[in-house]
Symmetry: C2
Subunit: 403 residues, 2 copies
Amino acid sequence: MIQVAVLGYGTVGSGVVEVIERNKELVNKKSGQELNVKYILDLWDFPGDPYEHKVIHDFEVIVSDPEVKIVCEVMGGVGAAYAFTKRALSAGKSVCTSNKELVAAHGPELLALARENHCHYLFEASVGGGIPIIRPLNDCLTAERIETITGILNGTTNYILSKMENEGADFAAVLKKAQEKGYAEQNPEADVEGYDACRKIAILSSLMLGKHVDYSKIYTEGITKITAQDFALAGKMGMSIKLLAMSKEVGEGKAMAMVSPCLISREHPLHMVNGVFNAVFVRGNMLGDSMFYGRGAGKLPTASAVVGDVIECARTQGKSNICFWDAKEADLVSIDEISRRFFVRVSDAGESQAKELFGDLEPVRADGAEGFAFLTEQLTEKAFAEKYAQLGEYALGRIRVED
Amino acid sequence: MIQVAVLGYGTVGSGVVEVIERNKELVNKKSGQELNVKYILDLWDFPGDPYEHKVIHDFEVIVSDPEVKIVCEVMGGVGAAYAFTKRALSAGKSVCTSNKELVAAHGPELLALARENHCHYLFEASVGGGIPIIRPLNDCLTAERIETITGILNGTTNYILSKMENEGADFAAVLKKAQEKGYAEQNPEADVEGYDACRKIAILSSLMLGKHVDYSKIYTEGITKITAQDFALAGKMGMSIKLLAMSKEVGEGKAMAMVSPCLISREHPLHMVNGVFNAVFVRGNMLGDSMFYGRGAGKLPTASAVVGDVIECARTQGKSNICFWDAKEADLVSIDEISRRFFVRVSDAGESQAKELFGDLEPVRADGAEGFAFLTEQLTEKAFAEKYAQLGEYALGRIRVED
């Protein structure tokens, strides 16, 4: 029997206990032995909960119990979670986590610590919830040079954008409804400003490059400025608007990474990813295009990924997972020199000015949408920004295009 | 350094050599040591080929060379490939394969032989070409009870159906063009009759159930009867037609499995899988819906998956892969009792007869399509077949619907 401790009895933590219990027979079979949750660490008590007798408040009990071989860190944050993870790994206990902030901030250090102590630091659930993406990148696509990773990595923003598109509603109205339904946090900043997606693309970029990508250096733009009018105009062009987290290798250990709303055409595989679903689109130099799709959040999908990692630890006790993610920082190039097309909205009065700046454009109009929109030719971010600034008061908005 | 032998220097075999060569640095890094192709076994010589000096004709050289630790069996078939695989595994050499026929026919025996000899039998490339699906099922979704697997597993038929849909062309015309372009074999039976997809869903079903699914017992229907008129009518209903390979757990170790053309709606994630792309849609009891998408065939994508397996063998020499696939045969239920909707085409003269048999139906007509089409309510296969037979000469065709 392998004893497991769960740190944090919130949504994911209770999901971990539920998955182990509900799929007990199968989980034990796959683990090669019985898994048992011995401790649940939380600040609170849970009177009446079927597992209330397992709830403790002192991490020392867990770290000093030699029976505990696997720790699920599903607390979140980079404070206690970081300290507890280091102590658990130092004690030779494998750690499985859904904590993207911690993985993004301290991944290489924690992986190295796991290796030193012959245990695992696994984080499948940190990106894409229940979608297998970390292990496919680390263990399956090993013969590939990964050229680009493009993800819809945040379920809340994808839900909001899908609703805006389907209902013709504006951002604020949809956000409010999403908050009422519990699909968005009361403080939605981490989601709607792209910070959550930024942590996740930092993790994927690090795995792509084998070097550490500092999330604080990733250009990140949220969805708060996207309007119903943008969707109406994009729709006329046969396109949708998604919050994309993108990373592209542009040379040995060098990458472009950014989080930004983008127009994508109906032909792009990510176009069909709607509602709370997430997907990661991966282009390799041998494989070409591939995509991994599923539920990027939610109690049971995320917990399922954590328990999958627990099973991996149980199967390979005394080993460390192979993960190429050096502490050495990757070179992120400025986005200024990146070329792409742009979707621009201009007031009707600005049409001649826009044509002077952007050449022979095709104006697209939609009912209820102010002015008109067009797509530029390929331009660098810098060149585009200069032209766009010259539109002055005629400019009504701009969104990147992902081709 | 690890020495590798490649059995069969055809499309996939030459791809394996190319991937190892072109991504050499990365492949060696991921393997933890240098990989070298020491032998290429083929019946033919390849004068002028850069690797002609590695080509040999005698398998005994490979099996008796203690330096060779990993064998890539990319010959295909169940004759020599079966014999060579058994001999290699018996000699403790890991085998990585793209050979779906052999895996489907003898998977459990070969996995057991690998375990006995402390080596691997890996077959990521046997299903879905370059798409990671075998390892995600075996190693990632381990905490899930997989409920259904629905795949577009054959690139040739998907290419043909996509062309028929986009061009309004009939099967025979599109097949002829596909043959001219080399996208379809001169003898296309294995693809267009669904036999290839059948082997692949047998493998996935076996992994889902942990028991052996005999592919010869899977109901298999090809795409040769699908017409341009079917697409026109399905399009009017907002649906497409795909060749689906389906497997559904219907009780402990029991499953329904079949290969059949099906109508699917625009909302289904598999709807966007066009051309030569493949995808595997997996529903788990915790995860819900997920999908794995990519190139299901082709030299380099398939070879990339084989080399990914080679890297896994290099990393874990002396170990055997964990794969729950007992020799014990799974119980496949008859499709007679499976319920679904059906798309039915009837001549105009048969409208009242159809309404008598199928109730209050909504006839759909399309330009150039004879008669009309409608969707039935949920019916068992058996009940539907009885009603359909009663349409007699009014019946113009029927296709299953996957909801």
